[in-house]
């Protein structure tokens, strides 16, 4: 009785163990040991800024795909890019550091409230109620969905507007993907000019709700000698690459021609024509000041 049960269990266990042992050899999946090393070299925030599901997914891609550049990790910046390049034997290449930028100045534009909102304290939820409580439906709602999405603690809400710390921002783009109004954008840190508004409305519709907003008059588009300003998704889009390539010889004519002063210099040190009051006018725009450095 005891013998039979012991023998049966022993043989069943032995057979299962044998099958598993053989299976682990036969069905062994080779995993490149470099993937683990590269994963460790990455920041491990799994922010998704590289366009992959996480740090490990990017590590696998950068090892397996010879065309995958090693500098995709925006959170790690050039240091990590150099390390990954060293580990994979690829050329690091230049990565133009980016930073998140908020395209809204609703406090300065004195955007009124359509109604008091008492619902769930989230931009996505507030957006669903009559396009949000702000009179301008393209404004920063200020409930901080992006702040919660930011894996690097680089954002905070102050005075109904989101603020971005350029020192902490790694341009991972988590906030850009979260914002229901698409007012956040990634721009190169050395960008010269930027539109501080993301309204898709025109003329009077903008003037009615905001004193500062972009009215899409198109003066900047016509005046830009490098033709790097265009209308994309019914709002002004600046091709920063082309703008930087053209250089300062245009003397920021777009800023000068903007009738609403909403197309502004981010780097006034470069040109003398910049309105000298600018830093003082937006003291809360800490990232603009930091961009000058």
């Amino acid at each position: 009785m005891i013998t039979a049960s012991v023998v049966t269990l022993f043989s069943l266990g032995f057979v299962s163990a044998g099958v598993l042992a053989i299976a682990s050899k036969v069905l062994y999946v080779e995993e490149d040991p470099r993937i683990e090393v590269v994963t460790e070299a990455l920041p491990g925030a799994n922010c998704g800024g590289c366009g992959f599901a996480g740090c490990e997914a990017y590590a696998a891609a950068v090892i397996n795909d010879p065309d995958m550049p090693p500098n995709k990790c925006c959170a790690g910046g050039p240091d990590v890019a150099a390390r990954v390049a060293e580990l994979t034997g690829k050329a690091a290449g230049d990565s133009d550091p980016m930073v998140a930028f908020r395209r809204c100045v609703k406090v300065e534009g004195k955007v009124a409230k359509k109604f008091e909102y008492f619902g769930i304290m989230s931009c996505a939820a507030a957006k669903m109620v009559q396009d949000g409580p702000d009179a301008c439906k393209y404004s920063c709602l200020g409930f901080g969905d992006c702040v919660r999405a930011c894996p690097f603690d680089a954002m905070w809400i102050e005075g109904d507007l989101v603020h971005i710390s350029p020192e902490k921002c790694t341009s991972c783009g988590s906030c850009v993907r979260t914002c229901p109004n698409s007012i956040l954008e990634l721009i190169p840190r050395r960008s010269r000019v930027m539109v501080f508004c993301s309204s898709q409305d025109k003329g009077k519709a903008v003037k009615d709700v905001c004193e500062a907003g972009c009215i899409s008059c198109g003066a900047c588009i016509k005046k830009c000698p490098a033709q790097c300003i265009s209308m994309v998704d019914e709002r002004i889009h600046i091709d920063h690459k082309a703008c930087l390539a053209y250089g300062p010889s245009c003397e920021e004519v777009c800023v000068e021609k903007c009738p609403r002063d909403i197309l502004r210099c981010l780097n006034p040190d470069m040109i003398s024509a910049a309105p000298e009051t600018e830093p003082a006018r937006y003291p809360e725009e800490s990232h603009v000041a930091d961009l000058q450095a």
Binding site: S5, L12, L27
Partner: protein, 191 residues
């Protein structure tokens, strides 16, 4: 008709989670999102069918001929654990997409008592092999149904005002009890 009744019985009347209280750990643990719930449910269906097949064969060809029925539980646990490990390795090598979607749930199923429960229940009910397999599909589908229903409700919890002390697991347990009560309404329809 028999098969139809078997399915109705296993999915609704004698739901493995809500009427027989098996597999409560993954039922509460993997029901926070519908996608995860579906992945877990699909993995359970897959493993339950395999486990029922193997345990049935072992019962019929090893335990019964040697009069070792009292070893049923320990042998079934052994077989299911080994089987899950094997299936995981097999999927990783042969069907990587399926492994990617089910992979993380497979180790959890090793100790899922719903799988062991189905394997033992079909022995107790003395089904033949085909009926056993049909029953295992139906029971696992019932598990999937319970998991998805629970996930749907718990997704609503996220936007509901719940007293602080009740948030998370407590309200989940209350909800599980209420769902179980609701399923009790099927009791007696079919044996």
């Amino acid at each position: 008709m028999e098969t139809f009744l078997l399915f109705i019985s296993a999915i609704f009347v004698n739901n493995i989670v809500l009427a027989q209280y098996l597999g409560n750990c993954p039922y509460l643990g993997c029901s926070k999102e519908k996608g995860v719930a579906f992945g877990m449910g699909a993995a359970v269906i897959f493993v339950t069918i395999m486990a029922t097949l193997f345990t049935y064969l072992i019962q019929a060809h090893v335990l019964v001929p040697f009069h070792l029925g009292y070893l049923q539980t320990i042998v079934f646990i052994l077989v299911i654990a080994a089987l899950v490990q094997f299936v995981e390795m097999f999927l990783k090598k042969m069907v990587p997409p399926l492994y990617k979607s089910l992979g993380i749930f497979l180790p959890l199923i090793t100790t899922n008592c719903a799988v062991l429960g189905v394997a033992i229940l079909v022995q107790r009910k003395e089904y033949d092999l085909v009926t056993s397999l049909l029953y295992s599909v139906a029971a696992a589908a019932g598990f999937l149904l319970a998991l998805i229903l629970m996930a749907g409700i718990r997704e609503r919890f996220e936007v509901t005002r719940i007293p602080r002390s009740m948030r998370g697991v407590p309200i989940g347990l209350v909800m599980a009890g209420l769902m179980s009560l609701a399923f009790m309404a099927f009791k007696g329809m079919i044996a």
